[in-house]
């Protein structure tokens, strides 16, 4: 006998369940965590390097780096003062909640205040795979062009914070800030945004301030 039965289940629900488990572990250790996503070359590692250098005198920082190959990015974060673990995805285009688990086992959450996960450089799918981190941070950069929110809506839909990096290049690149901002506003109204340059250091203090407010346990509006 043949019959059609309703299922109506989100296909990524298994990943979502594991992400919830990861979140519970991170919370139990009293750690604040971010998932940094961007296209290759937007400046994820530079932002993390800067952030680790600035905050490691006051906070214990761990960094989990997802990359297709090599541990170059983890080495940069370690040199800046973080406990760093590398996950080589071996070709997979994003991190998911399962891949994060062994890294969480190794990194020693109980000895951390801040956990930074650097996702694989990719603007297409990482936001679809929740990791269990508290906030999704997307890094955009001026030379990528102003049309990225319009072209990669899912990533911008899933972001909690937007970093616009390389603003020191604005005089040299055609970048219509209003067109970029319109795309962001359409996809994610009220998204918290920091315009900065990891090269010159301009604008970084506001970003550090945002992070520190969460690390100190202040009651801040969700953003």
């Amino acid at each position: 006998m043949s019959e059609r039965i309703p299922v109506v289940e989100k296909i990524l629900s298994a990943n979502d369940r594991l992400a919830d488990e990861n979140r519970a572990r991170i919370e139990a250790a009293g750690v604040f965590s971010i998932n940094v996503m961007a296209s290759p070359g937007a400046g994820k590692t530079s932002l993390i390097e800067r952030t680790v250098c600035a905050l490691s005198p006051k906070y214990r920082i761990g960094m989990i780096n997802g990359d297709i190959l090599t541990s170059l990015d983890a080495e940069r974060a370690a040199a800046a003062g973080a406990v760093a673990i590398q996950i080589n995805t071996g070709g997979d285009c994003h991190l998911d909640a399962v891949m994060l688990q062994p890294a969480l086992d190794q990194i020693g959450l109980e000895n951390l205040d801040l956990l930074i996960v650097e996702n694989v450089g990719n603007l297409i799918c990482p936001a679809e795979f929740r990791l269990g981190t508290h906030k999704n941070v997307i890094v955009a950069s001026i030379p990528e062009g102003d049309d990225k929110p319009h072209k990669y809506p899912a990533m911008y839909r899933g972001a909690d914070v937007l970093i616009l990096n390389k603003i020191d290049l604005l005089p040299y690149v055609t970048f219509r800030m209003d067109f970029f901002s319109q795309g962001v506003a359409a996809l994610n109204p009220g998204l918290t945004q920091f315009d900065l340059s990891c090269r010159t250091g301009e604008g970084l203090d506001a970003w550090y301030g945002w992070l520190e407010a969460r690390l100190s346990g202040e009651k801040v509006p969700d953003a």
Binding site: R4, E9, E128, R157, A186
Partner: protein, 114 residues
């Protein structure tokens, strides 16, 4: 390249629901796939043929219902499908939008034999 994980998830969900009905075979799966869900159905089909082998879902047909992204302008009420150049409302250039369709990604139903 994330379709393998997705396909494994589809198989797990389908088999779990089928076994709950004491099914002996899954013949069809009905998947709803929004345009913004970053999944390529051809790749899912490719992996499906490999990983369903040896399960009660072996040989089952995947049916994809593709849903085009649909935005609703909160200023003028226009309902439209964004083009590749811009998301903004084509009627009033508004940016206060609601995504009304296109982010779906679920297994809707399965056809089983018992």
């Amino acid at each position: 390249m994330h379709e393998l994980a997705i396909t494994e998830s589809i198989l797990e969900i389908a088999v779990r629901h089928a076994q709950a009905q004491n099914a002996t075979k899954i013949t069809d799966l009905y998947i709803v796939l929004g345009q913004w869900s970053s999944v390529i159905d051809d790749s899912v089909q490719f992996y499906w043929d490999m990983i369903s082998d040896g399960t009660i879902a072996k040989g089952a047909t995947l049916h994809f219902e593709r849903i085009q992204t649909e935005l609703t302008c909160l200023d003028c009420g226009k309902v439209y499908q964004p083009d590749s150049a811009s998301l903004l409302c084509p009627n009033c250039q508004g940016t206060r939008l609601k995504v009304t369709r296109g982010e779906e990604f679920r297994l809707d139903s399965i056809e089983i034999e018992s």
